[in-house]
Symmetry: C2
Subunit: 195 residues, 2 copies
DNA sequence: AGGTTATCTGAACATTTGTTCAGTATCAAA
DNA sequence: TTTGATACTGAACAAATGTTCAGATAACCT
């Protein structure tokens, strides 16, 4: 046997990335073998190397794509209004976006240590860029006198950690609706920044 | 060669757990081999099995010990005063305790998925017990009218996520002192709960 | 229809994995 | 000083790891 009927790189490529993300998120990067990913796709292990130079590049590709999509999704909705409304937009955006990509978020927080130093720095830079987006809002708000914050950098990290925490417990169809969750977190954040 | 001079289980046992924790936290459970742990201790891989039945039990032991120490450390300082003071105690305790055990905290959040279902349930139960400690304070505070919270369960998870986030960025000797960090987080939490 | 390119198989490779165990050296007590 | 328990070595095991590659089949283009 060799090439399979109906085989196309535009189909196999995304499927490999999807299955890799699912398995990495579920069992951890090091615990998942290339053969497991291949089996999930329905292909032999050797075929994966038509789509990635090696295993780490597969992980890096997933993390980098996720961070870039996060940044560009934010760029599309990022408001140029007053800080309070901007902060609410950020809070709701972060919760909603992260919940729709729980696996990718999980990976981005868990598997950074499996990257080589160079690749690590790239992801770290993208993450910092995203954090800066929030901090810009906090700085503007403090300058305008609507936020009371002793340290905007600390507040940035605290808020992001709090919001990302939603991913660890929220389940669709659970006790609280997404809209209720968003509203409740926004209420806490608004009060926490002193507005 | 066989038994080494000066060898004692009271020394080797703790050293194995310490090195395992360090390596698991740094590279991930699945990425660390029994031979690496043994080498860090200065012993052959076979010797590890005098102290643990298998690799997973070693991880489980670390996670369980950490959670039990967390709970008993909290039990020692847990105040029976009014909710506002109790909440401040919790915030400061959580930050301080977690920072002194960064590796164990990291493990407890990252490597749960490498546990068998039975062991997973044990750790999950301990974690829930700890969360309940905070929620009891929030419930009491809301009943007393000093906290304004729509959902104490959600607030519990939000606060813990926010506080635990300190571990990802705080470094001793950095820009902010531990006391400043504690005070700043406490200020945000206090405002967030509406007190 | 025929030739070219794209896609995948299946076997192979050297390493590494968790774990077991018979043997051996050290320790502690009598 | 002898004896039994304790702590470790070193070799061995089958299974699994990431990765490579020659060969084979399907899809596409002329």
């Amino acid at each position: 046997m060799a090439r399979k009927t109906g085989s196309h790189s535009e189909i196999t490529g995304p499927r490999i990335r999807a299955e890799a993300q699912r398995l990495f998120a579920r069992h951890g990067f090091a615990a998942v073998s290339m053969r497991q990913i291949a089996a999930a796709v329905g292909v032999q292990a050797g075929a994966l190397y038509l789509y990635t130079p090696d295993k780490e590049a597969l992980l890096f590709d997933l993390l980098k794509s996720h961070m870039e999509e996060l940044l560009s999704a934010w760029a599309e909705v990022a408001p140029r209004t007053e800080p309070l409304a901007a902060l609410e937009t950020f809070v709701r955006f972060h919760i909603r976006f992260n919940l729709t990509r729980a696996e990718a978020v999980f990976l981005s927080y868990m598997e950074l240590r499996n990257l080589s130093p160079g690749n690590f720095a790239v992801i770290e830079g993208l993450r910092r860029a995203y954090e800066t987006e929030l901090e810009k809002i906090l700085i503007a708000g403090r300058a305008a006198g609507v936020f009371a914050l002793p340290d905007t950098k600390l507040a940035t990290l605290a808020i992001i950690a709090m919001l990302t925490g939603v991913n660890t417990w929220y389940r669709e169809g659970g006790r609280l609706s997404l809209d209720t969750v968003e509203a409740t977190y926004w209420d806490m954040v608004r009060k926490a920044v002193g507005a």
